[in-house]
Structures are given as C-alpha cells and as structure tokens.
Symmetry: D2
Subunit: 333 residues, 4 copies
Amino acid sequence: MRQGATPQQVEGVVAAVEARGLRAHAIPGAQRTAIGITGNKGAVEMPVFESLPGVLEVIRVSHAYKLVSREVKPDDTVVDVGGVPVGGRTLVLVAGPCAVESREQTLTIARRVKAAGAHLLRGGAFKPRTSPYAFQGLGEKGLEILAEARAETGLPVITEAVDADGVDLVERYADAIQIGARNMQNFSLLKRAGQAKKPVVLKRGMSATLEEFLLSAEYILAEGNYAVILCERGVRTFSDFSRNTLDLSVVPAVKALSHLPILVDPSHGTGRRDKVAPLSRAAAAVGADGVMVEVHHDPDRALSDGPQSITPEMFEGLVRELRQIAPVLGRRI
Amino acid sequence: MRQGATPQQVEGVVAAVEARGLRAHAIPGAQRTAIGITGNKGAVEMPVFESLPGVLEVIRVSHAYKLVSREVKPDDTVVDVGGVPVGGRTLVLVAGPCAVESREQTLTIARRVKAAGAHLLRGGAFKPRTSPYAFQGLGEKGLEILAEARAETGLPVITEAVDADGVDLVERYADAIQIGARNMQNFSLLKRAGQAKKPVVLKRGMSATLEEFLLSAEYILAEGNYAVILCERGVRTFSDFSRNTLDLSVVPAVKALSHLPILVDPSHGTGRRDKVAPLSRAAAAVGADGVMVEVHHDPDRALSDGPQSITPEMFEGLVRELRQIAPVLGRRI
Amino acid sequence: MRQGATPQQVEGVVAAVEARGLRAHAIPGAQRTAIGITGNKGAVEMPVFESLPGVLEVIRVSHAYKLVSREVKPDDTVVDVGGVPVGGRTLVLVAGPCAVESREQTLTIARRVKAAGAHLLRGGAFKPRTSPYAFQGLGEKGLEILAEARAETGLPVITEAVDADGVDLVERYADAIQIGARNMQNFSLLKRAGQAKKPVVLKRGMSATLEEFLLSAEYILAEGNYAVILCERGVRTFSDFSRNTLDLSVVPAVKALSHLPILVDPSHGTGRRDKVAPLSRAAAAVGADGVMVEVHHDPDRALSDGPQSITPEMFEGLVRELRQIAPVLGRRI
Amino acid sequence: MRQGATPQQVEGVVAAVEARGLRAHAIPGAQRTAIGITGNKGAVEMPVFESLPGVLEVIRVSHAYKLVSREVKPDDTVVDVGGVPVGGRTLVLVAGPCAVESREQTLTIARRVKAAGAHLLRGGAFKPRTSPYAFQGLGEKGLEILAEARAETGLPVITEAVDADGVDLVERYADAIQIGARNMQNFSLLKRAGQAKKPVVLKRGMSATLEEFLLSAEYILAEGNYAVILCERGVRTFSDFSRNTLDLSVVPAVKALSHLPILVDPSHGTGRRDKVAPLSRAAAAVGADGVMVEVHHDPDRALSDGPQSITPEMFEGLVRELRQIAPVLGRRI
C-alpha cells in the first residue's frame, strides 16, 4: 500500500482479495502496510488489485516463501515481547537457565541476569531430551516459577513448547513461545503456534537450509501470527571440538532475504562454556538482533546442559563487552 | 529369564520390579523372555532380582538406550504388520505412491505392486511438506482409500502420522504407523506412538546419529509398544548429485547394537528415479530387512516426489533382481 | 568419428585441431574413436571440423569437465592394469594389506588373497599419515616387496604415490598408481600422474562433490593419460558409528555422467572390520566395477588401519558371496 | 627450561636429547624457552632430563601433536612476517586480490589497501583451481609483480605455493608461504614448508577436524620451522546460502590448545561479497589474530573469485569498524 493509505483502503484490498477465495495478510510496517496474498494456485489477477485505492504496486514473489520475504515487506519487523522490542536498535540479551529446576534456582538466576542487564528471561519447563530417561522438565509447575520470576524482576519470559497442549500453557504463562530445533519441521506445532496470540521464537533445525528455515517461519505467518523471531543455534557437522557449528553467516543471509529479526544462541551452538562469550561477541558483531545465553549460578550441578552454561559473573563480563560492540552496528544495550 | 520360564515367573519378576516403583517391560523372544527395567535414577538392587524364580541373569546396560538394545534382548525382533513378518527370513518389499492422490491412482498402483510381489503398501495421507503452500495430503479421505486398496489387494498398509490426532486415525485405518524423518525427535509424537496398538515404522532423522536414532525408538518402547521397525532414508551432506546420502553402513551397525528390524528407503535416500533400483539392490545386499520404494504409474504427474518414484515396470525388474540377491543373505522374497 | 573411420582420418582431425592452437585427445572406444578438444577459450569453429572426412558430429560439452564425460565418449572405458581389465564384465577384486610392513607379511597376504580369487594386489609403500609421528611406510623398499609378491603370485600391483618423486618410483615398480583421498585436489600431483605411463586409481576426497571428483580426473586425462579408475572411499559426515560414510549412490551417478570405471573401498569407507563384508556386497550390488579391501593375516598387530582390515578367512567368505551377486549385474569374478 | 636459563643450558639439553637418538626442538617464548622432544617410540627417560641444569620440568604430552601444543609452550607465538608481528597485540589485516592478474591490477589494489590500513598484502601467483581449464595464475611473473608491489608500498607479501618447486620460488620472492586448504594434508608439501626459511600460513582443509589441522601444523614444526600461522577459511556443509560455513568457534578452540596464531579468511569462508564485512567483524570479535580478505578494484572482471572480493571502498569501511572492535579484545590496528 502507499504511504498514508487509510485503514479503510487496507480493508478494501483485503476484502477484494478474500472475495476471490484467496487469503490476505495485512502486515503493518514503519512506513507502509504490506498485504501478502497466499492461497493462489496459479497467477493472481494483478491488474485488478493494482487499480484499487491506496495500492502502490503488486509484486510477484518468486521464492517458495512469501510472507517472511523482504520483497513483501521491506521494513525490518520489530517484535514486541512483553514490552521489549526485538529487531530494532536494541541488542537484546536473553538469559536464564537451560531448565527451570526449582523456584530458588530460577529466581536466583533471574535476579542476577536482570542486574547484569538482561532484557528477557529464558528457561525451559518442557525439555525435549534425546533420552526418554533424562529429566524432562517441571511442566506447568515450571511455568508458574517463570511467571513468578517475571513478577519479581520485570523480565518478560521466553520458554519452549513441544506440542499443542504445551502451546496452550506457554501462551497463558509466558511472553513468547519457543519452538526448538528438533521441532523446526513439526508442521502441526508450527500451525498451532501460528494461531497463538504470543510471539514465537523459532530455532533453526540442526541440518536446516535457509530455505527450509524461512519456510518453517512461513508456516507460522501463514496462520496469521506475524510476530516471529528466528534463532540460529548451530548446525551439525563433523566438528570434533564443539557440539554444533554455529553458523553466523546465516545472520546477514537472513537480513538480506527476510524482514524478521534473528537471535543467536551460542550456548547450544557451541556446547562449551568457554566458547559462549567469544561467540556471543561475534554474534553481536555479525549483526544479530540479540543473543540468547544459558546462565546458571551452579552450572556443575545443573540438571541439563551444565557444561554450556556460563556463570552470572561471566555473563556480567560479557555484557560489558557487548556494550562496546553494539554501537559499531548502530545499536545499544 | 531362563529358557522355559513360566508366565507366572515372568509376572512375578514384573511385580517385584513394579513394587520398587520401577517400570518392567516383558519382551518375549524366540528363545527367552527379556524383562527391561526402566525408571531407575540410580543403581538397581541387582541381587534382589537375581534370586527370583526363573531369572537367568541381571545385566546392567551401559548405553543410554536399554529396551532397544541387543544386550537386553539378543534375539532379532520380528514385527508383525497385518500378518507380514518384518525382521525374519523374508526380504520385505514395501511399495506404493508417495502420496495418496485419488482412489483410482492408489488402486492402480496397489494392484501393480501386488502383482509384482510387494508385501506391504505404502502411501501418504498426511504429508509433511517443507512449504505451507504445497499439497498436504488428503487426510482421512486418503486413509479410506488406503483401506480400500488393502481390502482389494490384501496388502497391509503403512502410512504416516504427523501429530497425535493423526495417530488416532492411522491406528484405526492402517496396519503400521510411520513416523517421518522430520518428526524423529518429536518426543510427544513418539510417546503417543508408544501407546498405540499398531507397529511403528520410525524413519531416521536427516542428521541423526545412531545413538539418537536408537533413543528415539527407545521412547516408543518405553511406553510399551515393542513393535518398532527402523528405516534408513538418507542423511544430509554436501552431496551435489543426490537429495540425501543413503547411509547403508547404518544397517550392520543397527544389527550389532539392536534387535529391531531395519528397512531402507532408497527413494527418499537418493531423490532420483535412476538410483532407486541400484540402491535397493545394495540395501538388500548389505543386510536390510526390506526396502521401501515409491512407485507411481505416472510419475511425471505425481503431486509430490515424482522425480524419485519408479514406474511399476521398473519395480517388476527390481523385484526380479532382489529375488537373486536375497538368498545370498539367507532370505527369500 | 564415424564407425570405421580410418587411422588417417583420425590423424587428419587431430592435425586440424592442433593447427588452430587447440589440443586434441583421441580416445578409442569399442565402437568409435572420440576426439576431445581442449584449450579453447571461446567457441570452437564447429563447422570446420564437421566437414572433415570421418567426422560424425561435433558435440559441445556443457560441463566443466569434458574428457571424462560420457558425452565425449559414450562407451565404458576399460582400463588394463597389468593385464587385468577394470571396467568390463569382471567384478574386480583388489585386496592386500593397508601398508607393506615386511616381505613376509606382504607375501603371506598376497598368497592368501590370490588363492581366494583376488585379481589385483594393493598395499602402501608411501603412507600419508595424519600425524608426522606415525609409521610413514617403507618407501622404495616396500615397492620392491610388492614387485616380488607380484612375481610370485602373478597379481598386478596398485600402490599409492604422494608426490612427484613417488610417481617416478611407483611408475617403475607397480602396475597402477593410486592417488589418495587427501591428494585428490593436489593438482601438481594430478598433472604428474597425467604424464605417467601407468593407469591411475583416483580416490574421492573426503568432502568432494561429484563435480570436483570428475574435474580432478579431468586433470589427469587432460595431460594425456586416459587410463583412470575412480574409487569411492567414504565421505566425512557427523556419523557416530563409522569413520566415514560410504556413499554408494555415487556409483550410478558416475556411470550416468562418465565413461570411467569406479571401484569402492569399504575398508576406508567404514573403518570397521565388521562392516567391510556387508558394504562390499552392497558395492557389488549397486554396480561398482570392483571392490578394494584391506586384508591382513594378523590385523590386531598391523602397523596401520588394523581395525578396518579383514582376515584372509573373511575375505574368502566375501568372495563366495560376491560370486553370487555379480551375475545379477551381468558380471563374473 | 627455567626463566633465565642460559643459551648454554638450552644447548646442553638439546645435546642430551640428541645423544639418545631423539630430536630436540628449542622454541623460544616471551618468558621461557621450551624444548620439544620428538622421535620417541616409547616413553622418554624423564628423570634424566629433569636433572639437567636449567630444566624446570618435563611434561608428557598426551595429544598426538606436541610442538604446536600449549602444554609444550604456554606463551602465544608471535610470528614475524616481513617485520609485521602476527599473534600479538595487533589485529592484523591481510588484503589483496585473489589472483595476481597484472602489474597494474596488483599495484592499484596494493596502494588502496595500504592507504586503508592493511598490514600485509595477499595475492595468488599459483592458483589451485578445481578445473584444469581455469586460469592457473601467472607463476613466477606473478611473484615478481608482488615483490614490486611490496617495494612500492612496504607491505610484506603472503602468497601460496602448491608444490615443492613453488615453495622454492615463493620463499625467494615473498615474506610468507601459504599452504591452501586443498593441500592441508599434502604431507610432502608440509615437510618442504617445514624446511623453508619463511613463515607458513596454513589454511584449514575443507573438512578438517581440529586434531587434523593441528597435526598438519605439527608436520611443519617437526621439520624445524616454528613460524606457523593457522587460518580458518570455512568448512563444507549442506549450506544453501554460502559457499562454505565459516567456523568461528575454531578460534577459541585453537587458542585453548595451541600457542600458534590464527587468522580468519571470510572471503573464502562465505564466498559472497555482502557477507565479508559482517564475518570479518565477527572474526575480530571472536578473538582471531587477524583477517585475510580479498579486495579487487573491479571485482566483476576479476579472473577468479570475483563474487567474493570486496571493493577498496568496502575495505576502508571495514577497517573503520574493526578499529572499534579490536580494543574490546585488548588489540589495536
């Protein structure tokens, strides 16, 4: 739509699209509103729409993905997570334990990362574990603890859902719903997240191409939820020194193709405590919209992923370094 | 348990295990019944169980997986799929279209593969597709068509479920429930499949290690469903000439570590029609318990995966070749 | 050239090509002689050549490789290694120790594999080792031992050269020069091998695409040595159960694009003794022109690669199985 | 050796080592001199050496690599390349064309990168090319041009050698010898480089583990050349958006295990111009000792690797950004 197109004009185009049996997605941007059209089997009658009031141009999108594409929406998307804007001028710091283990553990860590400058709290109540015999998370009890940590610290909460029932619960308690790497192509879960009223953090699958990653995001947007944040967390290679290979070049690649914000998770990306700070600095320098790190006050006794958690002290040092790097890319913390 | 242990003795051990808050899994074999114990946090009181009537020995399993392990159950597991034994002396041929597209298409193909010697019919009613805009399958209508094809040809049916609701439906209509590669670590789905009354075909994830593959199978067995068939379908590499890299060395590796049967799917494994027959022959020669191939009578008009489907004529030729290779490994078709 | 083109006509075309500053490669086939033209920067004046006597057609080759391509030479190339044809109706068995360790060790193994049915003897005198402190081979002394084993058993010898000086020596003592996986893109070595008077066995690099593999072969042909045998030996992946992932789908892919023969080496491909026989069977079934296996009479004391060497007894059992599989593909042993 | 050990004491230990048929490598550090011992088959008589004058302790090294290990030499190695220290407080900028194409091209680029702040000039005279028909470099003529560019700009020169003859030439004309990724396990070339009088820049192979990378460096040190600089340039994965996947986590991993400096080459690492600056910033932030980038004043007409070359203007902007990031790690440009 043109700059200054009225809400009535936007509604008019949406109605015209839907009258043809197609689906219209009005996506407001900083300057202009974009209207994505999906559901067409063949070519769309472009001239019909071009002549409607308020329409600037009709762009045919060549990729398999549409709504996530910069062609459809040139402006960066800024996603609001409980009042914290992700994708704008702030380099967003998401920190917290891998798993919610207890009230005391979570509150201790939440206070420490808040004091150090974190913007958002992370922590798992539902843990997808490779082994059926590993700790699977506290479930709803964990969500209650996270909500209590938010009430005390003011930090909005991001936490993972692993199935449709979990999305119901996470939607109720948390500020953003995380879809984990192993579920990146769990399309039923993506569709359910697309119907949620909360933003979604979508992690890249362990061997996902960029095309697949963006199409999984497209599943969420296609259901009407445009508040999607991507997250790189490392891909699987032959590496003998890190659990995964953090693929930082995906950040400029996403920025070129999509309007969605992207975080980097160096904790899962490297699997090793001593690499978290260096790779977090690198993530900030490459242009990520934020970093998501696991922090534990007693990592050697953590119930999951202890070896990749950093201490609150290490997190404080990291924040000091990131404050110096952020301005190079026109950001602040 | 010893050879010749009575059902009462087996029940006695199960009761003793459960009395300690643990979970007992009685797994009958050709010679002896094994009882897997799960749910223990620390060490199990081995002497207690060793002294029970009928007990041969108590083996501590060092791997993260237990129930799928050959240490727990040395005999090969033979899974019954609608009367067809998978994992025994028969080299099992599973054939059919990638997706159920129509009644006529499915029945045409089912008749052709039956005539050529197939033992089981495959075909997708729920299709997990990378793009939200691609054909997603006929759903329950597709399951009805598959059931009709079974009624006419006598071929038991394997078809994929992508979520819990799908498992309900597939369990009702089909003879085995397939879990696709993208859902190999969808642990909620694995647990649901573990409660199903039908066998499960579990495909290896695109970048799954053998440890992860077996642990995903363990999720299903740990819920009580011991009828699991593994399936190799190619892993993701840098290959520039095949969609995936079919990893046939996983077959002897599985045979060494696990009692579960394993199929090979060269259609997804290669993504190219002209490689399906050579890799099917190789799968039989390496020792797989069967091959699963996509057959379409008009592959160039298939709604999905046409380029990797072979024609019924090519399938007939393949069966002739497999009949010659199977005896080298002491099998027949 | 047309079928029945005379040697004079072939020479006439070669002269015409060279008169234009280009390079002509006359490659005789079973039916017809092909003349590859290289050295052209832009388009070749096709009509000039088409009108020469004996010329059937001029084909523009679109791939970066030319001389290795089936477009240039539709017939399969059969390479003569000391009298053994590689690439024809025989499934060629290449067997021997990883490294030549001593006269006695090599002769013992050579006699055993000869008796079991092997056609060619393999064994390394120059060993490229990851560590500078590992056994690097006996050098020229090892070549002498191999020559003695050939004299006694009649088995022609394939052995590796790792640099230009090594090619000089191997060319003198052996029947074929092996270029190892680590040197697949050592272009100086490829050029030197291209000037050799003996056939070359070129192993696929650990992460080589098919395009790169064929272009490395092209380096050898472009220097005038058309007797090149390709060899798949596994690619590097994330596998947790085999040293490399044997990529058998490369065999039909090579057969479609190139006229060169291809062997499979399941010893390096899997790195594990118990997978050598299954993967050798699979290699024969997929259509490879032969298999190359490491055999050692005392593998646990081998100076290199003991864990992947099979015993002479295992080799005899393997030959029995391969004799049954070969006829399925119209081959014999 | 102890701090303050005299040259005579060092020589005494070296003599004692050599008297036992072993090889001694005296490696001077900022604080102390380390003496690496290689050539031992079994255990070394440690007490003999511990009692020699000036000896602080004898450390048994558990890795396959020894001389490259931080256990042998705790201090960072600073390599002098024509007067430029690599591995110290300076973030080293290596810039220049992929290939030397002409005198004018190379001098134009050398002047521009010198003005922008580069410390070292890179440029290939011998180009290892995947295809035998691609431009293979100007050879010695290219080396003369590089020497002229050094004479005019004062920038020391790094350039690749692809075989032993090439090392002779590069050693004569340039200030450091580059071993390319494809030759990382060309052990004959590594040994020759180990006898050179100039520093060596060793690029990581396309699918090399860290263990293999360090062992290849060990080959060079074991021949007596301790001036080795490592270089990460991306590994091969399934990525669909970059030529290689730049593996920045190797930088902290190398720093933990080895005393050698490490550069990052984001041009080869990404293969795309628009990713060079972001990944160069990330390389500086992760802790690399320098970055090596391809710069071309007319990249669209470059004879090789044009798509990954940045313009001199882009390089100037990058240097401005790196000047801001370097101090975060206690470095300057």
